[in-house]
Symmetry: C2
């Protein structure tokens, strides 16, 4: 297994399009596989691939493969032969964002951007001031956004996306003692720079950022979060919307290799 994908010398060469195939784990070089109908349609109709095309496959768990399309059935099924298997590097720092669910499309925009920015784990949290969230199939649609965003941004490992839960449930799960730097996005908090400087050296490989709902966290929620080790931190001079705050913290963290 090589990691050619991140070591190719010619960086200007257009890299092959990526498609999702899960899981790649039990496959070997030379094996054949068939893309699911959604990915096959994307490859043919949007990206105009046919027999002989070289593509990349990824399974969202870190395995990647270079593959050739060797047959197209009359019904549009795509059969591929694996030429080479590889692995995406695991990120050194793990950024975990627990956030209120913003309304409508803004949740999907946020998931898309957070995936591109390398966020490791996402937990939708219900706060006292969260707008009512409902609708079955959201989780499935959200996961689809993550897959599409990985394809486009060439991210090999899907972010982990949890089921929505209440703040108290979630705090109970993570506990007080767990490791990692813990921040609460808060326009009245300490500056991001100071928070970075204050982060304990032993707790810098995992950063957990909580973003409250539109109306802000209640003072009781803030008290609970502080008790669980969260430091209120402000990024920039203005009040940020839910999705902007989440994306801004993820981007600021992605811009540095160390806290």
């Amino acid at each position: 297994m090589s990691t050619w994908i991140h070591h190719c010398g010619e960086r200007d060469v257009k890299r092959p399009d990526r498609f999702f195939f899960e899981p790649l784990e039990q496959f070997s070089e030379g094996d054949r596989l068939e893309l699911d109908s959604r990915e096959a349609a994307h490859a043919q109709r949007v990206k105009r691939h046919g027999v002989g095309s070289e593509v990349e496959l990824f399974d969202g768990h870190g395995r990647v493969a270079r593959a050739l399309i060797d047959a197209v059935s009359r019904r549009g099924e795509l059969s591929l032969r694996i030429v080479e298997l590889g692995r995406s590097p695991r990120p050194e720092r793990r950024v975990w964002i627990a956030t209120a669910v913003p309304k409508g499309d803004r949740m999907e925009t946020m998931l898309d951007m957070l995936t591109q920015l390398g966020v490791f784990r996402l937990t939708p949290v219900v706060f006292a001031r969260s707008a009512a969230q409902s609708g079955p199939g959201r989780q499935k649609r959200w996961r689809r956004v993550l897959v599409e965003s990985c394809k486009q941004s060439r991210r090999g490992i899907l972010p982990r996306l949890d089921e929505p839960r209440s703040l108290s449930e979630w705090l109970g799960e993570i506990g007080v003692a767990a490791s990692g730097t813990r921040w609460l996005a808060d326009p009245d908090g300490m500056s991001y720079e100071r928070a970075r400087a204050d982060a304990e050296p032993g707790r810098r490989t995992e950063v957990l950022v909580v973003v409250g709902p539109e109306g802000g966290v209640t003072s009781a929620e803030k008290r609970d979060l502080i008790e669980f080790g969260f430091t209120p931190v402000a990024l920039g001079d203005h009040v940020l919307r839910v999705e902007t705050a989440a994306v801004a913290f993820a981007a600021a963290l992605a811009s540095v290799s160390e806290l």
Copy 2:
């Protein structure tokens, strides 16, 4: 003229809602004014304000006012009396983003987020691989997004939004010699950290970031940009969409007080 807005001690107190009124320059304390119909409708229908309510006004040029609603006409016009005038602080660093126009809603999402993140100036640029952009009224709609975003995020000064222009026109305008740090968002560029460390101390108060279109800048465009002093810089490990790159650079810059 005071600057009470940024100096109030009680930070947990809910700050009054903000509405847009332009310009505030020639007004004094005690003067009366009338909100335009869009802002008046927002104040009454969405925010439920009536006679006696206290609100804040901002004109997008840095003037702010505390005002009381003292009359509502039968047709919904709102008359206000200015209680106190103030000024928003000017940002110390000026971030200027010149970017390809992403498709559809994504432009408006980008403008909204960049406003919250304090970007000083925005120039839509047409690149060789830009998708065709058309439609009158876009500029007006975009400006409306900036105003709404200022209202919500309590930003006092509107970002400057230029008319779209071609890359060569724009490079001609900014010239080779102008001051400021110049970066080109580029997944193959040097790391953001190194670029920050490399920025010349004398050129750190203005940062200019160029973000190319979906298909990337052409090698000729990249050559031109490098000739005009732009350093290719990568933020994070993945390929970022136009709007994500613009927002990520703005957020990373907003997270630090000095380059």
